[in-house]
């Protein structure tokens, strides 16, 4: 999460890490309105989502985010990733030496799979080959992110919009 060249960081990432990882990524360009009360509601829903089915979480969150065009819900357990994508928030997975966009719904995961979820602003200065290459050489999700940020910095010195992304590497036993 980086504010870029903006006054403040407006995007939002809500995380709940229990037996499964649940994430809500909100991409809020300048024109988007998102109240503090709505933020608190989404946060509470994601924090209490451990026992909710993904579909139930999605249905509960939808009325709050209905005015937002760009957001994504993600749940990852040992074997699967489930996503629901709205607008300019994207998820990709590295598979068979290629970077593939994840569709809405459930996708099975394997050990050492690499997944990135990011906003359109983050993706603007990158291409699929760069994301793929940084993914396959990185030993950790943090290193992958650092490498991607270097590439964005080369293009715009991190001086434009808010930058939001989550990188993940699936590791059994972690």
């Amino acid at each position: 999460m980086h504010k870029g060249g903006q006054e403040e960081y407006r995007d939002n990432v809500f995380v709940n890490y229990s037996s499964a990882l649940t994430l809500a990524i909100l991409y809020l360009p300048n024109e988007a309105e998102f109240s503090v009360a709505d933020e608190a509601s989404v946060s509470a829903l994601v924090q209490g989502s451990s026992k909710l089915r993904f579909r139930d979480l999605s249905e509960s969150i939808y009325p709050i985010l209905t005015n937002l065009k760009n957001y994504m819900l993600i749940r990852i357990d040992d074997k699967h990733i489930e996503i629901e994508r709205h607008g300019k928030v994207y998820a990709y997975i590295v598979q068979n030496g290629e970077l593939k966009m994840l569709p809405n719904g459930m996708t099975s995961l394997e050990d050492e799979d690499r997944v990135i979820c990011c906003t359109g602003e983050f993706l603007k200065c990158l291409n699929e080959i760069a994301i793929l290459s940084d993914a396959v050489v990185s030993e950790s999700a943090e290193e992958w992110m650092d490498n991607l940020v270097c590439r964005i910095s080369d293009k715009n010195r991190l001086s434009e919009g808010n930058l939001t992304a989550v990188t993940m590497i699936v590791r059994s036993g972690d």
């Binding site: 980086h2 504010k3 870029g4 060249g5 960081y9 590295v94 068979n96 030496g97 290629e98 050492e112 291409n127 080959i129 760069a130 793929l132 290459s133 940084d134 396959v136 050489v137 030993e139 650092d146 490498n147 940020v149 270097c150 910095s153 010195r157 991190l158 001086s159």
Partner: protein, 293 residues
């Protein structure tokens, strides 16, 4: 039966019609074959039978000596072991840069044929060799390393320092390997503090290497999983003498169908810049094509 001169126009038009029919049938056959291949491979041609066209240049620039070294494994062994190609850029201003880069090229030659799937072990071998160089030269020299290993339709790469491995797909060049220089550290630090990174680029030490062959236990960057390559891709392994002289965004001017033409164009482009302090410049160019055989 005799053919009179009066029949000639009829005969000519029959031959012409037969020719047209033959050409149309051939085109239809090729078109259907291409459709079939694309459909069978889910819209993407089957790239299991790719072949490689390779060329390189290694020029001295305005430097007093050549400190870049190149190694390309035997193309005749491509089907069996794939192809390995290395550029090692001896660090200028250090006494033994050229000597060390040559030793790295010799070492990689001895490593071949290397296992395509044992990337971690290969990286370890390179790191151990760097330790040997460290013991021998005690930091009085160093070199970068940029190496690709291509087999079938997949590529692995290894990198230490700031030489470049560039993949060009659909005419768009992308540097694959992260650069191990001070600038990367500065950017990371500024980003952690939620700051913009303009200052990182104006830092006079930004391009100093933080890792290189000849250092003790350098971090060898390597692909944990291979990258898929496709028909039409171009791969360039180069020293920074090339990318400093020809900006990546201008590469498309010099890309030709064959590897040798591309290499020649890039070499001429660097020479044409006439930079007074032109570094040694080296590039290995691969073009990936699908075999119809």
């Amino acid at each position: 039966m005799e053919t009179s001169f009066a029949d000639l126009p009829t005969l000519q038009s029959s031959v012409f019609a037969a020719l047209v029919l033959f050409v149309v049938t051939t085109i239809a056959f090729i078109w259907l074959a291409v459709l079939y291949v694309n459909k069978k491979s889910n819209g993407r041609p089957d790239d299991s039978e790719l072949y490689i066209d390779c060329a390189y240049f290694c020029e001295i620039g305005k430097r007093p000596s050549q400190q870049d070294s190149v190694f390309i494994s035997n193309l005749a062994d491509y089907r069996k072991y794939g192809i390995t190609a290395l550029v090692a850029d001896g660090m200028g201003g250090m006494e033994y840069g050229g000597e060390i880069s040559e030793k790295i090229a010799d070492f990689v030659k001895d490593m071949c044929p290397m296992s395509f799937f044992a990337t971690e072990q290969n990286a370890d071998e390179l790191r151990r060799f760097s330790n040997k160089l460290y013991d021998e030269y005690k930091l009085s020299g160093g070199s970068t390393l940029a190496m690709v290993h291509i087999t079938g339709s997949f590529m692995n790469y290894y990198s230490v320092g700031d030489s470049d491995i560039i993949l060009i797909r659909n005419g768009i060049p992308t540097i694959l390997n992260p650069r191990q220089n001070y600038m990367a550290l500065l950017i990371k630090s500024l980003c952690r503090n939620n700051k913009q990174t303009v200052t990182a680029y104006s830092n006079p030490k930004a391009r100093s290497l933080i890792d290189f062959m000849g250092n003790r236990n350098p971090r060898v960057i390597y692909t944990k999983k291979p990258i898929r390559i496709f028909d039409g891709d171009k791969i360039i392994v180069s020293s920074d003498g090339l990318t400093d002289a020809v900006a990546l965004r201008n590469f498309h001017h010099y890309l030709k169908d064959s590897a040798s033409s591309t290499a020649l164009e890039l070499k001429r482009a660097v020479a044409a810049r006439k930079r007074p302090k032109q570094d040694n410049y080296t590039g290995i160019v691969f073009t990936i094509k699908r075999s119809f055989m």
